[in-house]
């Protein structure tokens, strides 16, 4: 029994979500191999080789993998799949796009957003926006899994010494091409890996107010910034900050929600945080039902006061 992980990387280095996926793969019970499909991705392959618990790195290098197009990466995974009992992806935008293509071609079960591994074929995963937890058992010999990173500790990034094997890349599908990207450059910690997250909601009222109020708090705490769907829909914050059922799932040590009412879809994305603080002037806001500390106050006064007091 051996598991294959598809590494999330930017060619130059490894993305943190891969480390949590290694922990999940080890819980499946066998050896762990990692595929690095990229372009000039030697540095990423070397980084994976140092991760504790990884016994082999498979490096496929091709310009067709430069932007992680799903058609091309999935074909590479399928070409390798024969050997593996488990194929795991982090449940990131990229992992979620590629994994089902692999499962479909292999006619294998896919278990999405796994939060706990109970055995080689038995997994826990949230359904209905986390309002229920299903325990499911796969009926197929191979399992394709996407791993919710908040459910697993990251593996140590150093201490391993896996061999790196170069393989010939599969040809490109030719049906999709990368046009461009507008990626947000930020010095803040990654939202899904941050120790502290401060999130703003619709009550902020404008994108100017959103950054004017939330940024000093994030700076003071060294926190990542998140947002509710309402704030993103209204254009106060970019889409990649959305926390919730269909956005990012976070579980930091401290989550501060300012001006967020707490729709079930938002709670689905943050209720596994260790400590939750809610600041809202509506005493009936549902966010208070999951908050460890609730402050009933106008956020425009309370957040600056909090920055001052910290």
């Amino acid at each position: 029994m051996t598991a294959l992980i598809i590494a999330e990387h930017d060619n130059a280095g490894l993305k943190g979500a891969t480390l949590n996926t290694v922990t999940a793969a080890l819980a499946c019970g066998g050896d762990v191999h990692v595929l690095v499909a990229g372009y000039n991705a030697g540095a990423a392959a070397k980084a994976v080789a140092r991760v504790a618990g990884v016994s082999k790195v498979i490096h496929a290098d091709s310009v067709s993998f430069a932007y992680g197009l799903a058609e091309n990466v999935a074909a590479q995974v399928v070409a390798l799949a024969g050997y593996y009992s488990h194929i795991l992806f982090p449940a990131t935008a990229s992992g979620k796009s590629i994994a089902p293509r692999v499962a479909a071609v292999l006619d294998a079960a896919q278990i999405s957003e796994v939060t706990r591994i109970l055995g080689a074929d038995t997994f826990e995963r949230p359904i209905y926006a986390g309002n229920a937890i299903a325990t499911v058992q796969s009926t197929t010999p191979r399992n394709v899994v996407t791993v919710r990173t908040t459910g697993f500790e990251p593996a140590a990034a150093t201490g391993g010494s896996a061999v790196v094997e170069q393989i010939a890349p599969v040809p490109a599908s030719g049906k999709s091409t990368f046009v461009g990207a507008e990626l947000v450059k930020s010095d803040r910690p990654d939202l899904t890996a941050a120790r502290i997250v401060v999130s703003g909601g619709r009550a902020l009222g404008s994108s100017e107010k959103f950054s004017e109020v939330m940024t000093p708090l994030a700076d003071k705490l060294g926190a990542a910034i998140g947002a509710s769907r309402a704030a993103v829909d209204a254009g106060y914050a970019p889409n990649d900050l959305q926390v919730g059922q269909t956005g990012k799932i976070v579980a930091p040590q401290l989550y501060i929600a300012a001006g967020i009412s707490g729709a079930i879809q938002h709670l689905a994305g943050m209720k596994d945080s260790k400590v939750i603080v809610a600041i809202n002037k509506d005493p009936e806001a549902p966010i208070f039902s999951v908050a460890d500390y609730g402050l009933e106050a106008d956020l425009f006064a309370a957040v600056p006061a909090l920055v001052e007091a910290l």
């Binding site: 197009l69 799903a70 999935a74 935008a93 990229s94 979620k96 796009s97 089902p100 293509r101 692999v102 499962a103 479909a104 071609v105 294998a108 079960a109 896919q110 278990i111 999405s112 957003e113 949230p126 359904i127 209905y128 926006a129 986390g130 309002n131 229920a132 299903a134 325990t135 499911v136 058992q137 009926t139 599908s173 030719g174 049906k175 999709s176 091409t177 990368f178 046009v179 507008e182 990626l183 947000v184 502290i196 705490l221 993103v232 829909d233 889409n239 990649d240 269909t246 401290l254 209720k271 400590v275 939750i276 999951v290 460890d292 500390y293 106050a297 309370a302 006061a305 909090l306 910290l310």
Partner: protein
């Protein structure tokens, strides 16, 4: 150009579901059912393509019990031209649905298939990608903007770090994210009109697809409850509690 749109009947997004006490699943009896919100966005996008003169016909498909007819009528009230119900009482998992849709794609030969990125009941986020792989089509998941020109579609996608734009040859599969559009409200005259639109019913057998379970549900449980917290009177108390009680700052 023909557009195929897949729609799923799910528990309405405003309803908080309850887990059955015997752990066999979620109690959906007598709950309000609606079209999966992401699928509504998919139908709306197809209708906008038709209004722009890009699409000529919109076919809505739903797989499941006879009651999915309601969901197809909603799709037709938004503006789909006809509906196909793949009727079965068996439990349908994403890969089975993808196989049914693949059979319909072969039959209908659409240039574009639009689906919601995930259903809000099983939160699987699989069907669109699986269909694309089975039909050997390119895909653009999590779309926030779709443009059609010159036999290609250019799609802007919501990805982890921001936005990414890719170009696909047609035919192609697109799955919708929240910011793609805001679906229109269906009007009464359109609901009436939708009742007269053609709706065909087929079975998985007729499509040559064997339905099988890939996953067996062993148990469904309530998530761990968070214990109720406290209200703090002011910012100073909050900071003091975070420092000395919770010890997180």
């Amino acid at each position: 150009m023909k557009v195929l749109v897949a729609v799923k009947r799910v528990v309405d997004y405003n309803v908080k579901v309850r887990v059955k006490s015997d752990g066999t699943g979620v109690d959906v009896a007598n709950l309000k059912m609606s079209m999966n919100p992401f699928d509504e966005i998919a139908v709306e996008e197809a209708v906008r393509l038709k209004e722009k003169g890009v699409a000529t016909e919109i076919v809505a498909v739903s797989c499941g019990s006879a009651r999915c007819e309601e969901t197809l009528r909603t799709a037709m009230a938004i503006g789909a031209d006809r509906g196909i119900l793949v009727e079965t009482t068996e439990e349908l998992q994403p890969l089975s649905v993808a196989k049914l849709l693949k059979a319909l794609v072969e039959k209908e030969q659409p240039q574009l298939v639009i689906l919601g990125k995930q259903a809000i009941d099983d939160d699987a986020n699989q069907t669109g990608q699986m269909l694309a792989a089975l039909a050997d089509l390119p895909q653009a998941t999590f779309a926030s903007r779709v443009e059609m020109a010159g036999g290609k579609t250019t799609v802007t996608r919501e990805v982890d770090g921001g936005l990414e734009t890719i170009s696909l040859t047609l035919p192609a599969v697109v799955t919708t994210d929240l910011r793609l559009n805001e679906p229109r409200y269906v009007t009464l005259p359109n609901i009436m009109k939708a009742k007269k639109k053609p709706l065909e019913t087929v079975t998985p057998e007729e499509l040559g697809v064997a339905i099988k379970p890939y996953l067996k549900t062993l148990n469904v449980a309530e998530p761990a409850k968070r214990s109720a917290g406290v209200k703090v009177p002011d910012v100073a108390t909050l900071v003091q509690k975070l420092k000395t009680e919770a010890k997180v700052i």
